[in-house]
């Protein structure tokens, strides 16, 4: 058992101030993302039909800025398609089925903090790799009445 990491106010401010999640949601609805390392070509068609953005989607973010060398999935495979050009990146997990064990389809996104906040996305069947220094924190949108944890 490991403790959940605390939220990161600066990163949450970035997520909220720039409508990044709205952009990500739009990209998902348009199918505008690349396959990650866990996606086998023959399974793409089968799995593409599964994930949609619903109320059940759970968004998590890495609790510190990441570098390109941090972009790996839980099976320690590189997430090259998420590489960004700036110095700092955000790393997000968008999980449409958080009650499921892995492997199941999810999206992983990077945000290039220093280069116009460009978003890069893959869909994968494992979440990002976590380390003691790079942990995923569940994000609760402050303007979402369903995610009112901080208002309680």
């Amino acid at each position: 058992m490991i403790e959940q990491p605390p939220k990161h106010d600066e990163i949450e401010h970035l997520l909220e101030g720039n409508n990044l999640l709205d952009q990500i949601q739009e990209r998902i609805s348009e199918g505008d993302f690349l396959p990650g390392p866990g996606i086998e070509r023959e399974r793409e068609e089968e799995l593409l039909s599964l994930p949609v953005w619903t109320e059940a989607v759970r968004v998590s973010y890495c609790n510190s800025y990441v570098a390109n060398s941090d972009l790996r999935d839980a099976l320690d495979r590189p997430l090259d398609a998420l590489s960004f050009r700036g110095r700092r990146g955000l790393l997000l997990l968008i999980d449409p089925d958080s009650a499921a064990n892995w492997a199941h389809a999810c999206w992983i996104a990077s945000v290039d903090v220093d280069q116009n906040q460009k978003i890069r996305m893959v869909w994968n069947n494992y979440p990002p790799l976590e380390t003691p220094q790079k942990r995923l924190v569940r994000y609760r949108r402050s303007n979402d009445p369903r995610e009112n944890g901080r208002l309680a």
Binding site: A100, N101, W102, A103, H104
Partner: protein
């Protein structure tokens, strides 16, 4: 009802890998503990020396009132445990396999083990099961895509002696509302034990014969999953001449007439 055959030797191998401490959610240890507790309960009385538990990075855990030393759940240890369990099993013996945690839809199917690079491929399991020729085998696969392990049991054990149960053909899910267990495994284990780990009764003996066969346990777990709107896709097969004939007769104690 009297059993037609009472097993002479019964062995069990319980496996939960976890990938890393970040993906190894607490419910998987609860799944193992509940099943272990069921096996050593007065109802089934498995000998603790006949149960091998492989869990994450190992350690000692309290399971059913016993201090259980678990083995690191890596590929080498899993293969060694299977080898030991299958060795010298006879025609009236039973091997029980139980898995939980993560699994993949790769071809061949993989059960994720401890550390990101460790996994057991389905044919590895089949190869170990095939090393002894004539014994009863029950595989209970709770990990994601666990249905892809079933044919390793039915194809690598003697006809009429292999049964495989899986939580799902796709991803398997946690038990609502708090995710303390995996849903299907929780219900299946409760069915076998006739009570939940918390002690609430589980009315799984549909035939009211005093024994819980695998078909009954499966039906109970399937129905509970449906009631709770769990999106698992459970699966059950055996290698009897008439499909599911063995599943309706196999219990953890022996074979029903």
């Amino acid at each position: 009802m009297q059993l037609q055959t009472t097993f002479k030797n019964r062995r069990a191998v319980l496996i939960s890998g976890g990938i890393s401490s970040f993906q190894n959610y607490a419910r998987y240890l609860n799944d193992l503990t509940a099943f272990y507790t069921c096996l050593v309960s007065s109802r089934y009385s498995f000998a603790t020396t006949d149960i091998q538990v492989l869990y994450a990075n190992g350690g000692v855990y309290d399971m059913g009132g016993h201090q259980v030393t678990t083995t690191v759940a890596n590929r080498a240890n899993v293969l060694a445990a299977l080898h030991k369990a299958v060795k010298r099993l006879g025609s009236e013996d039973l091997l029980v396999l139980f898995t939980t945690n993560h699994g993949d839809a790769t071809i061949p199917h993989r059960l994720n083990l401890w550390t990101p690079s460790e996994y057991l491929e389905a044919p590895d399991l089949g190869a170990e099961l095939a090393k002894s020729s004539d014994y009863f085998c029950l595989g209970i696969f709770g990990h994601c895509f666990g249905a892809k392990m079933i044919n390793q049991v039915t194809a690598n054990t003697t006809a009429g002696k292999g049964v495989g149960v899986a939580a799902s053909k796709t991803a398997s899910h946690l038990l609502p509302p708090d995710g303390a267990y995996d849903a299907f495994l929780h219900h299946f284990t409760a069915a076998l034990a006739l009570e939940t780990p918390s002690g609430y009764p589980a009315a799984a003996d549909a035939k009211k014969d005093g024994h819980i066969d695998i078909q009954e346990a499966y039906d109970f777990a399937h129905a509970m999953n449906k009631k709770q709107k769990i999106t698992d896709q459970p699966d059950l097969h055996d290698n009897a001449a008439t499909p599911l004939d063995l599943a309706a007769k196999l219990t953890l104690e022996g074979i029903l007439p």
